[in-house]
């Protein structure tokens, strides 16, 4: 598989504190990769290393298959980024702010108006950024990240400070960019709900460790509802189910079935009844993605 971003044992240490510990991030081409983690987990530090703003203590970063340590300039030509709080020159207008960046990329002049239109700031192009709301500054930052028609967009908490309609707009914009131009996007957030609605794959970081990395579907499966069965002689009942090819778990006298359709569950119940087991309870345990995320991060911090 072709990976746009691939890190190998990426580690960053600040003094004694291990901010990022042996990360192996893999982002396939065309994916929207949700980089999730609580505040202070190491997301921003990782992103800074991906952009060459910070030097890793150990480990390597490969972007577009090239080594970042050796071909930083070539790589950065095709990356658009927005790191943490928006950066801007308050005394310059929105247009002038973009012009300072456009010049360096050597992108055509029209591109400024294009990106201003994309993020909906055309009306205020000639206004000083000093007077912008946080949401507008954030949009300006996103506009700046699009100036060079990037192949890879790296956005650190891009919906910070946006109102709900702004969040939806940005989300749609990112989906569109990924779908129409095949841009690979890395988007970090501490809110799972945000990632859930946009990402196609997910990496979860906690205390500097990558504790989960897979497609969003796998994460959803992970958090699928579970059916709990309480029966007499439960251990034998569990063995019966296993022998019949039913995927079931057993813990503390309770048989749990995950990821099953209603028909499958009816089949399991019938099987148990026909074999003479008494079914005391059939319960459903629902876990939201949010619970999964919290459980993942708390498990990781328990270690």
């Amino acid at each position: 598989m072709e990976y746009i971003v691939e890190t190998n044992r990426l580690t960053k240490r600040f003094g004694k504190e291990l901010a990022v510990n042996g990360l192996d991030i893999k982002i396939p081409k065309g994916e929207i990769y949700g980089f999730l983690g609580p505040n202070g987990a190491g997301k921003t530090t990782t992103i800074r290393m991906l952009l060459g703003l910070m030097h890793p203590t150990s480990g390597t970063v490969k972007v577009f298959g090239k080594d970042l340590a050796k071909e930083r300039i070539e790589i950065l030509k095709q990356i658009g980024s927005l790191v943490e709080n928006p950066s801007y020159y308050p005394h310059l207008t929105a247009y002038e702010n973009l012009e300072t960046i456009r010049k360096i990329y050597g992108a055509p002049m029209e591109r400024i108006n294009d990106v201003l239109t994309i993020v909906g700031l055309s009306d205020v192009a000639k206004k000083k950024v000093k007077g912008f709301s946080l949401g507008m500054k954030q949009r300006l930052g996103i506009a700046a990240s699009l100036l060079n028609n990037p192949q890879l967009l790296i956005l650190d908490e891009p919906t910070n400070g946006l109102d709900p309609s702004g969040i939806i707009e940005i989300r749609n914009l990112l989906k569109q960019l990924a779908a129409e131009y095949g841009i690979t996007i890395l988007i970090s957030s501490h809110l799972l709900s945000e990632i859930d609605q946009i990402a196609t794959s997910v990496g979860v970081i906690s205390k500097g460790n990558l504790i989960f990395q897979d497609s969003i579907e796998s994460m959803r499966l992970y958090s699928m509802r579970k059916i709990l069965l309480k029966v007499n002689n439960s251990e034998r009942a569990w063995h019966l189910l296993i022998s019949r090819g039913v995927k079931a778990d057993y813990e503390k006298e309770i048989i749990s079935l995950s990821n099953m359709s209603d028909d499958d569950i009816a089949e399991v119940v019938r099987l148990l009844v026909e074999n003479g087991y008494s079914i005391y309870r059939v319960e459903e345990e629902k876990r939201s993605l949010e619970d999964t995320f919290l459980q993942m991060t708390s498990e990781a911090s328990g270690i």
């Binding site: 060459g52 950066s87 005394h91 050597g106």
Partner: protein, 236 residues
């Protein structure tokens, strides 16, 4: 690349009033002489020192102090443009080398200081002509006393740029700057090896060019130390 970066640097100076500062420095130096000559003209005449040479010396007595003050203000000004909303992280994630970013900052500052020094030469000349001295105009001396201090002050420029770009909190560069301004003011009393003395062009051998050579050599040295440190640092 450097050309583009310089254009960008000058764009960022828009509406910042920096050109006014560049004008104010040399104007301030010469206007002090306006006061001096306005009040003491009779005394100079009486002493027999009402001439171009003595006038140029009078102007150059204030220059080092004003120059160091200007360097401190301009460098922390340039750094504050990036520090204000931490645009370092945005700029350094662009496809440019860090050394070219540092070099473009340095070049911009040097350019502004050269403008200021040129203005100083022009203002000194104009006011001198107005004073109507009897001897010939010492063009070479005017130019020399306007530009030698700048070259001799390059180590201070390098030092101030270095600390104000790598340290987010501008308290330290300003403190170092203020101490530098005070030292430059007391140039006559401090040892020759202190870089803040050099713009005064004073040394125990009475050879102003020595200060210029030291300034260039040490200035380039400090520039490289600062640039290498800037390249190696993590961007917060």
């Amino acid at each position: 690349m450097i050309g583009k970066l310089l254009q960008v640097e000058f764009m960022k100076l828009k509406r910042k009033g920096i050109w006014f500062l560049v004008f104010l420095g040399p104007f301030g130096v010469v206007s002090l002489q306006m006061v001096n000559y306005g009040v003491r003209k009779e005394w100079f005449l009486h002493q027999g020192t009402y001439n171009w040479d003595y006038y140029v010396l009078n102007v150059s007595a204030i220059t080092p102090f004003a120059l160091i003050l200007g360097i401190v203000i301009l460098t922390s000004f340039m750094a504050s443009i990036e520090n204000e909303t931490n645009t370092w992280k945005q700029m350094l994630a662009l496809p440019i080398t860090r050394w070219s970013v540092y070099l473009s900052k340095y070049t911009t500052l040097l350019f502004l200081l050269i403008i200021a020094s040129s203005l100083l030469a022009i203002f000194s000349l104009l006011f001198g002509i107005y004073l109507d001295f009897q001897n010939d105009i010492p063009y070479v001396d005017i130019i020399r006393y306007s530009f030698y201090p700048l070259f001799a002050a390059l180590p201070v420029l390098g030092l101030q740029l270095w600390i104000s770009t790598v340290i987010q909190n501008q308290g330290l560069p300003i403190t170092v700057g203020v101490i530098g301004v005070i030292l430059a003011y007391m140039a006559y009393f401090i040892p020759d090896w202190l870089i803040w003395k050099w713009p005064s062009l004073d040394n125990q051998w009475n050879e102003p060019l020595l200060n210029v050579y030291w300034g260039l050599a040490v200035g380039i040295g400090i520039y490289f130390v600062g640039m290498i440190d800037f390249i190696r640092r993590d961007v917060k």
